[in-house]
Symmetry: C2
Subunit: 362 residues, 2 copies
Amino acid sequence: MTLPLTLGDTFKQAKYRTTGNGPRDVNVLLQSLQHVDGDTPSEMYGRGEIIEKFERKLAEMLGKESAVFFPSGTMAQQIALRIWSDRKDSKAVAYHPLCHLEIHEQDGLKELHHLEPVLLGTQDRLITLDDVKKMPANVACLLLELPQREIGGELPEYTELEQISAYCREQGIALHLDGARLFEILPYYGKQASEVCGLFDSVYVSFYKGIGGIAGAMLLGDADLAEQSKVWKRRHGGDLISLYPYILSSEYYMDLRLPKMERYYEQAKQLAALYNTCSGMRTRPEIPVSNMFHLHLNIPMSVAESVIAEVQEESGIALAAYLKETSETTCATEIAIGDCYEDVPQEQLKAAIKLLNERLNS
Amino acid sequence: MTLPLTLGDTFKQAKYRTTGNGPRDVNVLLQSLQHVDGDTPSEMYGRGEIIEKFERKLAEMLGKESAVFFPSGTMAQQIALRIWSDRKDSKAVAYHPLCHLEIHEQDGLKELHHLEPVLLGTQDRLITLDDVKKMPANVACLLLELPQREIGGELPEYTELEQISAYCREQGIALHLDGARLFEILPYYGKQASEVCGLFDSVYVSFYKGIGGIAGAMLLGDADLAEQSKVWKRRHGGDLISLYPYILSSEYYMDLRLPKMERYYEQAKQLAALYNTCSGMRTRPEIPVSNMFHLHLNIPMSVAESVIAEVQEESGIALAAYLKETSETTCATEIAIGDCYEDVPQEQLKAAIKLLNERLNS
């Protein structure tokens, strides 16, 4: 007896992928090194051309005084909040209940830095200006994540963002941007990165989300914040003698994919529209505002898994690599458009989604 | 007017190097990837064949139940001490006054983990059994660094190490090995790695010292310690989605250089003996016990710098990349034998050291 192929297997084996930039394998590194001169010296503990040049490039692009490369966003953001907390002499920081620091970091912020997060708004919606105005007076720093990943990548209207920024400045509250997917939202806002970052006092960006690098992050802000963050980077164990494998690949994929963010955004809207023609399926946001959205299915996860696996195998189109149970009768997956989407033949894609709709509703 | 070349310049430009494994440049990464299949999938957040296979290999080699790969030793060791502190419910940990955690980590252990180090012994000598016996009773964990890098890489006699280990077990004090240079000391002790590690409850090893990888470390101990260390790794921001650039290069250079540690040790003794024939120079240890030693010069640093630069330029033999001032009239440098030494023509080396001796004592 042959076991039926899993969702993950059929995703990997399908000829075309609707989501992502392709497999996360060693080729990602090899490709990024193809045109690098092997004699290029490593940076040493954060110093040297290879890291400083990239930091200057990002500082300029994002309109901030200084930038510091970090191995991870987890490290960079805890440190940013710690610095703001120390500056304002208050342990209170505010963020969304589904903030990365709250749900994905084993409480590093609390366990290592003893900060005390105030959760703003509720799990199912964005933080609003009204939430911000009701914050306790002792909040040192407010972290906003744009787009709010755990709710499908929703975004506030730009005017509301401006109002939140103005309010925080008025109140002396530092405003930090979790910009893991900053470049992905610029086409929707119709803004330059530096314009969005201008609303914030410190900014973190990631190089392995839409940009599709291997790992790595940048923290940006004033020169003092940058210097202090290097001390904390050393304390966290992130000031490696050599970070160049991440730096080189980050820069390579940034140059390659920043010009494609507009296209990913348009393709996300196109794909979401296809899913929204189906019964029992809906996307969040209904009309994407970046390259990402969540696909919600009114179907128990075990049923959806086997049906999507079948459709992937039969159609040769990979739709979902995994599902997450959201209740006994519903499930969801995350779609993030990258390089793979443009290779997908549109007629085959439409046929695959039609087949999915039929099988799930038969 | 042409400025005279600096010590660093002449070191880099010399045809032969007495110390190290060669330049830290991108070729180090490229060489390690030459025979890697590009389709090899990345591990994901600490899971997957690429990381687990290497962890199992080290656990077996060092005779420990479990191993966890870390981006840095700074992160791995703070976490090891934190886990022992929590287990024993005491914030006191003991180590040498020149321990890496005390002088090179911006006090991460104190600032992030609030541990309270007890400094054992004095800066100019090794920790002894006697020091250990006089430790406060509340010490949760004793860290020993083998070899003690900041004093030239000295080592206790193996019998004393066994006595310290037995005493700690008797007293219920955890014994942790800072084994950044563990593989480098095995030829002197005439022991297998697992024998030395058997004296310790937890062990850290580095992949970019004698092994000459890019960065990376392994923490080893019981299975519970390993599991807890993964939680702390996430909190520190070290649980990257992909650490494979470090893992692949660590494994490559480990396989390449572990068999050469005996040779490096013999060559270190040979080179130290040459320096010890000179006037105003001495090595510490006088007879090396690993691939490393410190060279101490009874000469003001500025004088030594220009003389060594001259000798390096004239002889084509790189002796020292940098000097450190140890007083107004003395300075020192660290020598660590690696792959480069065996290419150095012995007669040219002897002539260079003779020239150095003449110039420094003229």
